[in-house]
């Protein structure tokens, strides 16, 4: 190729890029026009505040009953109010149990309908007991600083929000045509957002990307369909009748919208003083080591605990929860508690993401993962996914994942100490649940099926999963004296009996 031809190619490439940005501006305007955002002779974007009400389902992400199955559902009534200018969003939803059998985690089954009010306003996020909590005596606004980014991304994933941010991206927004449909991509908060328009140029799908400790680079896909003017006051603003949001390939939200108020209603998001004054970053991860018996340590702190068991030449760690940060702190605590021994095995109690999130860090430590047989193929598939947005410890290491599956029972022993692992039968929480038992020390290790309340708390309702645990202990003839729950606190077997109403 001669020099002139190279020059022509380069010019053509520059032209295509420039044209794409110009196309994006026109495509964004057309989409804004199609859903009624653009108004008046000055063609201004007139949508600032919005409310919508709907009903349908929310789903507990990462809490499937079986590995690879859809996330379990809650029925939900849903009310969102938002302001694009603040920017802010309040989601007020009441969750209840779905019809039919209830299986899976995430708090299912609920003992009673549960109201959740999640707010974000600029950099601040908090949860309200009632709308406006913190400004009303007797109400509470609980800071949730780590949630601000995700909640804002929800705001920018709405049809109007996505188009506003695409417009704000200016020349960085790019237009294309895929499968005959217009698409717009633009950078936002360190990732790329992609909008796909339908034939009427309305926003049909918004894809965002975020990091998840289990899934790695995770696409959140929100689809919008059946646009209508659903307001009591007619505005010609079009809003989708149906919203479906998916994460990890399965729905996390499925709403049928029953009413909207896109007429810039009065919605405000004042930040309570305690939220404004709260630390903006989560507290540092803390792990406390508590000796339960000779060679057995309860590693607590935060919401999820672990147990370290000392063997002659190595450590067995039960649970690497949440994420790299927690897992690394647990590894560090285990090594400081039991010095000069490697962590050879890590027991993963079940496949729910909160119990699975730190497992990659433990695999990078060189530990062999012990998990229920049904998890093996699922984990191998999950861990083949890219972690480019926030490369974790395993992504940066050359270690390979080593899994030793456990069917119904496995014992680890050095002759002096034994840790038995059993597959829990009959759980509706997770099909792959393992419990640990140290026969000499008479210590039980379990996750999620018995979460002891605070000492001196009044007894709650009997939980089916706890009854099932007790049935399993009897079936397996395990002589348990102490329990190290991976949520809650160290308790005795009498606490378990009391919780299920046994004398």
């Amino acid at each position: 190729m001669n020099r002139h031809l190279w020059g022509a190619v380069a010019l053509a490439a520059l032209g295509a890029s420039s044209l794409s940005a110009q196309d994006a501006t026109a495509t964004i305007k057309a989409a804004q026009y199609a859903i009624g955002m653009i108004r008046g002779p000055a063609r201004v974007d007139a949508i600032n505040t919005l409310e919508y009400w709907g009903a349908g389902y929310t789903y507990a992400f990462g809490q499937a009953y079986r590995p690879g199955a859809p996330w379990p559902a809650f029925k939900v009534s849903y009310h969102a109010s938002l302001s694009y200018s603040v920017p802010a969003m309040r989601v007020d939803m009441t969750r209840s149990n779905p019809d039919g059998p209830v299986q899976g985690g995430g708090g299912l089954p609920l003992p009673a309908p549960q109201r959740q009010i999640q707010v974000v306003s600029g950099d601040f996020a908090w949860n309200e007991s009632v709308p406006g909590a913190g400004f009303i005596p007797g109400t509470s606004a609980v800071p949730a600083p780590g949630a601000a980014g995700e909640r804002l991304m929800q705001l920018w994933s709405t049809p109007f929000g996505a188009l506003k941010m695409a417009a704000a991206a200016g020349p960085k927004a790019q237009a294309a045509v895929e499968n005959g449909l217009n698409t717009i991509t633009f950078p936002l908060s360190g990732t790329t957002v992609k909008i796909t328009l339908n034939a009427k140029q309305q926003v049909e799908r918004v894809e965002t990307r975020s990091d998840n400790p289990v899934l790695g680079d995770t696409i959140t896909e929100t689809t919008y369909s059946d646009y209508q003017d659903l307001g009591e006051i007619k505005t010609d603003v079009q809003f989708p009748l149906h919203i479906v949001q998916k994460q990890g390939g399965f729905p996390v939200l499925d709403l049928t919208i029953t009413r909207t108020d896109p007429n810039n209603p009065y919605v405000v998001f004042p930040v309570p003083d305690n939220v404004e004054q709260a630390p903006r970053t989560p507290p540092p991860v803390k792990v406390e080591s508590q000796k339960v018996a000779d060679g057995v340590w309860y590693l607590t702190g935060g919401t999820h605990h672990s147990v370290a068991v000392e063997f002659k030449n190595y450590i067995v760690l039960v649970e690497c929860p949440l994420n790299d940060e927690r897992a690394l702190a647990v590894i560090d605590a285990a090594k400081k508690t039991i010095r000069n021994k490697p962590i050879r095995y890590v027991v993963n109690t079940h496949h729910h993401f909160d119990h699975l999130g730190g497992l990659r860090a433990c695999a990078a430590e060189g530990a062999t993962i012990l998990t229920q047989t049904a998890n093996q193929a699922y984990y191998e598939t999950l861990w083949a996914q890219p972690h480019t947005l926030n490369p974790d410890r395993l992504a940066k290491s050359s270690r390979k994942l080593v899994i030793e599956p456990i069917g119904e029972k496995r014992a680890i022993t050095d002759g002096a100490r034994t840790l038995e692992l059993y597959h829990l039968q009959g759980s509706n929480h997770a099909d792959t649940m393992l419990i640990g038992y140290l026969p000499k020390e008479k210590v039980l290790i379990e996750a999620d099926v018995f979460n002891p309340p605070a000492a001196n708390a009044p007894p709650g309702a009997v939980v089916r999963e706890t009854v099932n645990l007790s049935d399993n202990l009897k079936r397996l003839k395990l002589d348990v004296q102490q329990i190290t729950p991976l949520h809650g606190r160290l308790v005795g077997i009498e606490d378990l009996r009391r919780a299920i109403g046994e004398k």
Partner: protein, 257 residues
């Protein structure tokens, strides 16, 4: 001593005379925005979405309500404000021919400034309430009447003073009937309004701050409004037709007109 006193009086007079003269016709009958010189310019602003005049009102209703600057009410008033907002055609006192009151009536259309008072003249319109309005604002340094001695009114008791080159009009003693603006923005009888008028050449900037701790979480600083001096030496304020509500029974939607 007499000489000293004379110098002092001259100094006071010089200071008094150093304040800007706010007198003039500011924008004639228009509401906010630039001074419109011709009917052609006005007509150019009317076309709406798709060039269709049918969309004019619906578009402008949406744009008018898109102002992101909202008063922060205490949560116990959120529902009431929303209800007023959604039922503006029946709830908005201004749409029932009532005066807008302070601060909704906005900046004056004409100011007559004397050494001891400002006379503020307003022409009517849907946004400002109906009926030609006036205010006489003392600027002679007198204090407010104690609040408990005032009958609540639409315009309250207003007293002005200079802060540098800015005239600050301090008002108390309101009824709780008027709204602060379109959108159901209610207030209590304990509202305190401070309006600031600043002249810069042939431009007048008006901005009001509303304090009402009975209903607001924090004071609301309204958007500034800029008025141009009407350069026509013969400019007059048009007479307003009497307001008589005759449309409500014919409205078939809740669109706030």
């Amino acid at each position: 001593m007499q000489q000293c006193f004379g110098v002092f009086l001259l100094a006071v007079a010089a200071v008094a005379q150093s304040h800007p003269d706010l007198s003039g016709v500011w924008n004639g009958a228009t509401v906010g925005g630039p001074y419109i010189k011709s009917e052609d310019e006005r007509a150019a602003l009317l076309p709406a979405r798709d060039g269709d005049l049918v969309n004019f009102e619906r578009d402008n209703a949406l744009i008018r309500r898109s102002n992101p600057n909202k008063p922060l009410y205490k949560p116990e008033f959120w529902e009431k404000v929303q209800k007023f907002d959604q039922n503006g055609n029946t709830e908005d006192p201004s749409y029932g021919c009532m005066p807008a009151g302070v601060p909704r009536m906005g900046p004056p259309a004409k100011i007559v400034q004397t050494p001891n008072e400002l006379i503020l003249l307003y022409v009517s319109g849907a946004a400002q309430g109906w009926g030609d309005q006036y205010r006489v604002v003392p600027i002679d340094g007198r204090p407010h009447t104690p609040l408990q001695d005032l009958d609540g009114t639409w315009k309250g008791e207003s007293i002005g003073h200079w802060e540098g080159d800015t005239m600050v009009i301090d008002s108390i003693g309101f009824n709780d009937t008027s709204w602060l603006d379109i959108g159901g923005y209610l207030h209590s009888e304990n509202m305190h309004v401070m309006e600031r008028l600043h002249r810069d050449g042939d431009t007048l900037t008006w901005q009001a701050t509303v304090e009402d701790p009975d209903v607001l979480i924090k004071p609301w600083v309204m958007n500034p409004r800029v008025q141009k001096l009407n350069p026509d030496p013969k400019a007059v304020l048009p007479e307003t037709l009497p307001c008589s509500e005759r449309d409500l029974s014919h409205l078939v939607t809740k669109e706030h007109h």
